[in-house]
Point group: C2
Chain length 209, copies 2
């Protein structure tokens, strides 16, 4: 090994020797705060204070709070970007874009496998999985549902989550056939309209009986 | 305690003293066979042979194979009866009847709680949960889907299972709000049409792109 400074993943960086240490201090403080108080109550300022650094350094390393959260949870994706991609465009295509992005992220050999822990952990109430599920529910699906401008956005987000988590459980965790080997294109035609209805349809009448 | 013979649950019965023992031998043999070879490969005759009893005694105690399975798994319901109730009637009401029975069984304080183990165990690949899931999938949902007479009945059953298992996970295991406290009547209006479409709609066109 040369004497050059390397980042936390062993890559050569142009950063000062203290950077990697500061980054770890921030991640430790953030991990503690998210676990203790949840996503909503955690603030960049609070994490910076606990880590003994300036809030600007947290922004420098992680951007926004959800970037910090993604780093703590080792999420293989950028939540804000994903939500923006889905919300952008015609409301008539919202359900299909959500279904498409969902299948892309889970089918991807890099981003998919880490997510199966979300499903396994969620069913056993693992604290980190609870936190991640709350984040995906409140920060992602509720924002997507709210973008459609219909009443009961949180219930609509829950219904989408139920369809998507159930699909993930059967397709990616339990690998139930033929669902597990059906192409994403074929599944889109089934799932897209379901999500579209949950996100944008009028609240249904209660069935008689 | 009096000297009267009591059944396995301590209730007084008119059976001979050997009955409770035979019943336990049958359940043990069935438990072993279901676990070793799965639901489909298990036969009443094979279980009777392993238990050293006449097949007629298995039928006497448990009726059909799925009754035996329900007893082994301590299911709080009769699977055949449930499927018959859902399949009976107009195909146009199939999805709503499936959603209604699903919510009734899970919302019931007697039959609901034992089923949460199915969801927790399924996510962690517990063998008994795998077996129960296969049973519910193949013996119940596929029969329901097949009754609609459309192609791809097994994929359609998988899609229904995804929506229902996801709903059970969020509503009954994780108790996510507002889904957990929304009335069954209101949920029926959301879930019924989803299941109806999965069971009876034409196979969708693949979306462009």
């Amino acid at each position: 090994m040369s004497g050059e400074e390397k980042g936390v993943h062993g890559r050569r960086t142009g950063r000062r020797p203290g950077d990697a240490r500061s980054r770890e201090l921030i991640l430790d403080a953030a991990r503690t705060s998210f676990a203790a108080t949840g996503y909503a109550a955690t603030t960049i300022r609070g994490v910076a204070t606990a880590a003994g650094v300036d809030p600007a350094l947290v922004h420098y390393f992680f951007g926004t709070k959800d970037g910090l959260f993604a780093a703590v949870m080792e999420l293989p994706l950028n939540p804000s970007q994903l939500v923006e991609d889905i919300v952008a465009g015609d409301v008539a295509g919202l359900g299909e874009r959500l279904a498409r992005r969902f299948l892309e992220v889970w089918d991807d050999p890099v981003t998919g496998p880490p997510l199966t822990g979300l499903i396994r952990g969620a069913a056993s109430h693992a604290p980190s999985a609870d936190l991640l599920r709350e984040f995906i529910g409140r920060e992602m699906l509720v924002r997507i549902a709210a973008s459609a401008g219909r009443p009961d956005a949180v219930l609509r987000a829950n219904l989408c989550a139920a369809q998507l988590m159930g699909t993930a459980l059967l397709r990616y965790v339990l690998r139930v056939e033929p669902l597990a080997s059906t192409g994403a294109g074929d599944l889109l035609g089934w799932l897209g309209p379901t999500l579209q209805r949950y996100l944008t349809a009028d609240t249904p009448e209660r069935p008689v009986g």
